[in-house]
Amino acid sequence: MAENEMLVLKNLHKTFNPGTVTQKTALDGVNLTLQKGDFVTVIGGNGAGKSTMLNAIAGSFHIDSGSIILGGQNITSLPEHRRAAFLGRVFQDPMMGTAASMNIEENLALAARRGQRRSLSWGIRADERAAFREKLATLDLGLESRLGSKAGLLSGGQRQALTLLMATLKQPELLLLDEHTAALDPKTADKVLRLTNQLITENGLTALMVTHNMKDALALGNRTIMMHEGRVILDLDAQQKQDMTVEDLLAQFEQVSGRQLANDRMLLT
């Protein structure tokens, strides 16, 4: 295996509710290799398997077959909380990424210890507090003066920004972003997206970002993949992305899948 491969997905299969009327094949042979430092945007219609692929990597469920290799280690059978040591995650629902009843600094302190053994020493050190304040200031949301506020009091955009910071506080081998701006208003979404790009570039992170916004998908990252019916059907490198417009992308999709990709949500945003 090559030195630079950060993530290798080999022939992932997952069927939900097998043998029932709600049976759904969510992953139907996903193959994907990410090089270290790749920032890959993921697009596709509803039910294409984008979120399922991210959740399979994170270990929210076990896959039916295939293997997941992260940083050279086979993590296919590791439980979700053990994989957390290698992964930073931001969810679509802003409520998912933070503990609402705990304050900002406690959330950050939990994230700073992601994947480590939790000891009986004090949960937050004084020197950490100063570092948190500094990091929060870079978000430019005024959170640096609210370390003691409960995360539940923050707006959706503030919570997503905080979750992003938490996901990257301890450098992850892979950052998983699952439509993390979809629940935000356009202006806030734009701000969180810029922050995302900045954090990924500055830290040289490897990232997978699911988005329903074709423009963002083409503008950000060095690679774009398109999924359809549980498979990767299109893989564009940096050069191809640059040469492509949203219209080209839609046309490409129809050609590869034999279907129309566009729905209102994708065209209007």
């Binding site: 053990r82 503990a99 609402a100 705990m102 302190a109 210890r113 994947g115 939790r118 949960g123």
Partner: protein, 314 residues
């Protein structure tokens, strides 16, 4: 209705409230921190009493007996935790199953060393076991023997330990499990293990409280834990309603739970003094707890109605 008669009852009510307050802190850990309603406590409270009583009657030092009762409570919580996380049984049902099983276990514990091998009641006379930690006999005295002093000390130490524990890296992880399981797992915390540890700690405190109650009242009874969960919830809720706005710090919140239990027992004394039949107490308690549990729901409902311009919702 004689007012001195009531005043004479108040120290006893305070002592009982302090003992139940420790039980209520256990309930707080599951109900508020882990966000789970754990019904094991009705059984584990009596387990604590049974273990302490049988050890004390066989000559074990009461301090040691009370600590072993705490360990027995940990085991009770472990069983509920494994039923819940290891066997996928909903938490509330897992608690009920353990509680039911503990009834038989408690009869057996109390029957240790007897011919029948099972017993519903173990007497613990302070005349016979003079070194017991607390006894209602001394509750009217202004001496160091008065159980209120020791209970205040034990409560303060326990609140201190809980404050420290839930402030550690490990304790913060447990709080995250109760607050947001998805987030906890994403931070590398095993939610299953976290719930087990929380249930163990909670039931350990409940059994500890049961051990003290058996000594205080001078006997252990297999049904002494009946309705314990409701009394625990009452204490938690009374504490929150009265001190919620005042107490923000975690240690103070636990103090509010203990104060809630004391207030609960003082109020009980007053309504009994006013002529309520003891048999109707559980009904009254259930009604009060139901009302207080409904309050946040009603408050939200009213707020929603106001938002819709006074029109009913739905």
């Amino acid at each position: 209705m004689n007012i001195t008669q009531l005043l004479n009852q108040l120290p006893g009510a305070a002592a009982q409230g302090l003992i139940w307050g420790i039980m209520a802190i256990g309930v707080y850990i599951t109900f508020r921190i882990l966000d789970t309603a754990d019904l094991t406590v009705d059984g584990s409270f009596a387990t604590g009493g049974a273990v302490a009583a049988i050890l004390i009657t066989s000559g074990v030092n009461p301090w040691l007996a009370t600590i072993i009762a705490f360990l027995a409570g940990l085991m009770a919580g472990l069983i509920t935790g494994v039923l819940h996380t290891g066997m996928g049984i909903p938490a509330i049902l897992a608690g009920i199953l353990t509680q039911l099983a503990l009834y038989s276990v408690n009869l057996r514990i109390q029957g240790l060393g007897t011919d029948l091998g099972s017993r519903a009641n173990v007497p613990l006379s302070i005349n016979k076991y003079k070194n017991m930690l607390v006894s209602l006999r001394n509750v009217g005295n202004f001496s160091i023997e008065n159980p209120i002093w020791l209970m205040l000390l034990i409560t303060a130490v326990l609140i201190g330990i809980m404050y420290w524990f839930f402030g550690t890296e490990y304790g913060c992880g447990l709080r995250a499990v109760g607050s947001n399981q998805q987030m906890a797992r994403a931070q590398g915390i095993s939610t299953g293990r976290g719930k087990i540890v929380g249930l163990m700690l909670s039931n350990g405190l409940v059994a500890f409280s049961g051990a003290l109650m058996a000594q205080y009242q001078g006997f252990s009874d297999v049904s002494m834990g009946r309705g314990a969960i409701v009394i625990g919830l009452a204490a938690v809720i009374i504490g929150e309603v009265i001190f919620g706005k005042l107490f923000r710090n975690f240690a103070l919140k636990l103090l509010a739970v203990s104060l809630g239990a004391i207030i609960y027992y003082l109020v009980i004394q007053v309504v009994l003094w006013l002529g309520l039949n003891t048999d109707d107490l559980k009904l009254l308690t259930a009604l009060v707890v139901a009302l207080f549990l409904a309050m946040p729901y009603w408050r939200n409902h009213m707020a929603a109605r106001r938002m819709k311009g006074g029109k009913p919702v739905g």
